[in-house]
């Protein structure tokens, strides 16, 4: 298993309060599987990716994984002072790969996401979709076994998103990376993945873990997929409603009765 998550919990401690982000999550992901993580916002999806990526330390449980995963974030977070090619080559540079080789490898990663023509451009010259493709190339060039993607297309317009979904699938079909893909869109999850994992409201627990077997390219209007979508949508709606209710409670009585959340703490500092 390239990724094995065993009974993982995560509690953040900040400003003297603690937030339970994940509660007893277990997930085994076989080699080459494309898995989507879906859940209401704040349920700990990004936290789980950070834990798998080694950017956060876990509170309880165990995670094992093959190699160092690469991450693609919601924003490209490219370095504006480097050309696209040098952005993609940066990870290799840090690993001591020689200039010639890292430029060659970066260029071929850029070809994979159809961005080769813009190798010498600077990030400010690219559109949002192009930047996101550069970010994908920057992750792919490290040739990770596991690719972690945190709502990578969430900030893009609908047409660009559809385009990038297609490209991602073709890259995945060629490289067969193991992919953990966070999204808040059930549609996106169903179109892309082999498996959809649905999380509860915070603290995140797994409420559904379903295989999606329809052949690609997919259309969520197809009856079997549509039925699966309805099923997951109802589950998701119930969790989202819990979040909404919790937020209202905090608004009404939180200040006087319940412990303040960290977000409130910041504002109430003075």
């Amino acid at each position: 298993m390239p990724v094995s998550i065993q009974r993982v919990s995560k509690t953040y401690n900040r400003y003297g309060t603690s937030v339970d982000a994940l509660d007893d999550v277990s997930l085994n992901i076989p080699d080459g599987q494309f898995v989507s993580l879906v859940g209401p916002s704040g349920c700990g999806k990004s936290t789980l990716l950070s834990l798998v990526g080694g950017l956060e330390t876990l509170s309880r449980g165990q995670i094992s994984r093959t190699g160092q995963p690469a991450i693609v974030f919601q924003e490209a977070a490219l370095f504006p002072w480097r050309t696209v090619l040098d952005n993609v080559a940066f990870g290799l540079q840090l690993r001591g790969v020689g200039k010639r080789e890292r430029r060659d490898r970066a260029a071929s990663a850029l070809r994979m996401v159809h961005l080769a023509r813009f190798a010498e451009a600077y990030p400010y010259e690219l559109s949002g979709g192009m930047r996101q493709r550069a970010a994908i190339a920057r992750a792919l060039v490290l040739d990770p076994t596991v690719l972690l993607m945190d709502e990578p297309f969430g900030a893009l317009d609908a047409q660009t998103r559809a385009l990038l979904q297609d490209e991602l699938l073709s890259v995945w079909e060629r490289t067969r990376k193991t992919v953990l893909f966070v999204t808040h869109s059930l549609d996106e999850a169903l179109i892309l993945s082999d498996r959809v994992v649905l999380f509860s409201a915070r603290p995140g627990r797994i409420v559904a873990d379903v295989a999606v077997e329809a052949p690609r390219p997919r259309d969520t209007a197809d009856p079997p997929l549509a039925a699966l979508q309805r099923h997951l949508r109802d589950l998701l709606a119930a969790e989202v409603e819990k979040v909404a209710r919790a937020e209202m409670d905090a608004d009404w009585e939180g200040a006087a009765v319940t412990a303040p959340s960290p977000e409130q703490n910041v504002g109430a500092d003075i």
């Binding site: 991450i71 919601q74 924003e75 977070a77 002072w81 690993r95 813009f118 949002g128 192009m130 920057r138």
Partner: protein, 284 residues
């Protein structure tokens, strides 16, 4: 979609920098700005000329622009001016390079180590508001009446704003930039060198520019006050005072202004423009 297409074409034609019309508009507006400036400064000069000619003040208090220009030519020809400028410029170079090194390291420490920020942070803010020429008397005792004392005053002028700029630049970095760097494997000194410093360059440049201005003021004050130093531009000013030569004093002030302005316009401003353009769009 239209926006992304236009951006694609901008990128594709980037060798051309700007389309002809854009370049034309830019050139025209620049020409207008220069025209305005020319008009403003020539009116100012005319006013000065008129006042000097009116005889309200004696020529020893308000010499005419021509007298100042003549004095400038005279100190230039006498062989005093160029060595003085060279001496001051050299002091600035040395003092500024020290300030950059110390200020950058101090700023990074303030930004990254909480204990340093909590202890030295308020000290830095405090010292920033202290006119650095106050350090001259103690520096003369500590280091003797030589170059070291005046360098100390320069560093005390420039280092704080550089440190503050580095600190606030690093502090205000988008968190995703840091996470991306971390994910790619940048840690420790390589994180500083490859990510933190270049990422903060826009703020850093502002601090550098401010630091330069403070250092230049500090140096002029130091040279004006300390007679034991090898003569720099500030010293010419005190020579003018000794001989009560107002035209010379004004001529030296023009030189001091011109030097400060030249470095700002020819070095810092173009740098800031390039950086703002490239860093400006992608905030994260």
């Amino acid at each position: 979609m239209a926006e992304s297409i236009s951006r694609i074409s901008t990128a594709a034609n980037r060798e051309q920098a700007q389309s002809e019309t854009e370049a034309g508009v830019l050139r025209r507006s620049q020409r207008r700005a220069w025209g305005g400036r020319l008009l403003f400064f020539s009116s100012l000069l005319a006013l000065w000329w008129g006042l000097a000619a009116s005889g309200v003040w004696s020529a020893s208090l308000l010499p005419s622009p021509a007298a100042v220009a003549a004095s400038l030519a005279e100190i230039g020809a006498s062989g005093l001016l160029l060595p003085a400028i060279a001496t001051s410029a050299q002091r600035m170079m040395i003092g500024y390079v020290i300030s950059l090194a110390v200020g950058t390291m101090l700023g990074l420490a303030l930004a990254q180590v909480r204990a340093v920020d909590e202890t030295l942070g308020p000290v830095v803010t405090g010292l920033q508001s202290l006119p650095s020429i106050s350090w001259l008397p103690p520096a003369l005792l500590w280091f003797g009446a030589g170059e070291a004392a005046v360098l100390f005053v320069i560093v005390m002028g420039a280092v704080w704003s550089i440190a503050q700029a580095v600190r606030s630049g690093v502090r205000s970095l988008p968190p995703l930039t840091l996470r991306a760097a971390q994910m790619l494997g940048a840690h420790g000194p390589r994180l500083w060198w490859h990510v933190l410093l270049p990422a903060t360059l826009p703020t850093f440049l502002t601090g550098m520019r401010l630091g330069w201005a403070f250092a230049w003021r500090a140096l002029m004050a130091g040279e004006l006050l300390s007679r034991s130093l090898r003569p720099g531009v500030g010293r010419l000013l005190s020579q003018g005072r000794d001989t009560q030569d107002m035209a010379m004093m004004l001529a030296v002030i023009v030189v001091i202004l011109a030097f400060g302005l030249a470095v700002d316009r020819l070095l810092f401003l173009p740098l800031e423009r390039v950086v703002a353009r490239r860093w400006g769009v992608e905030g994260a």
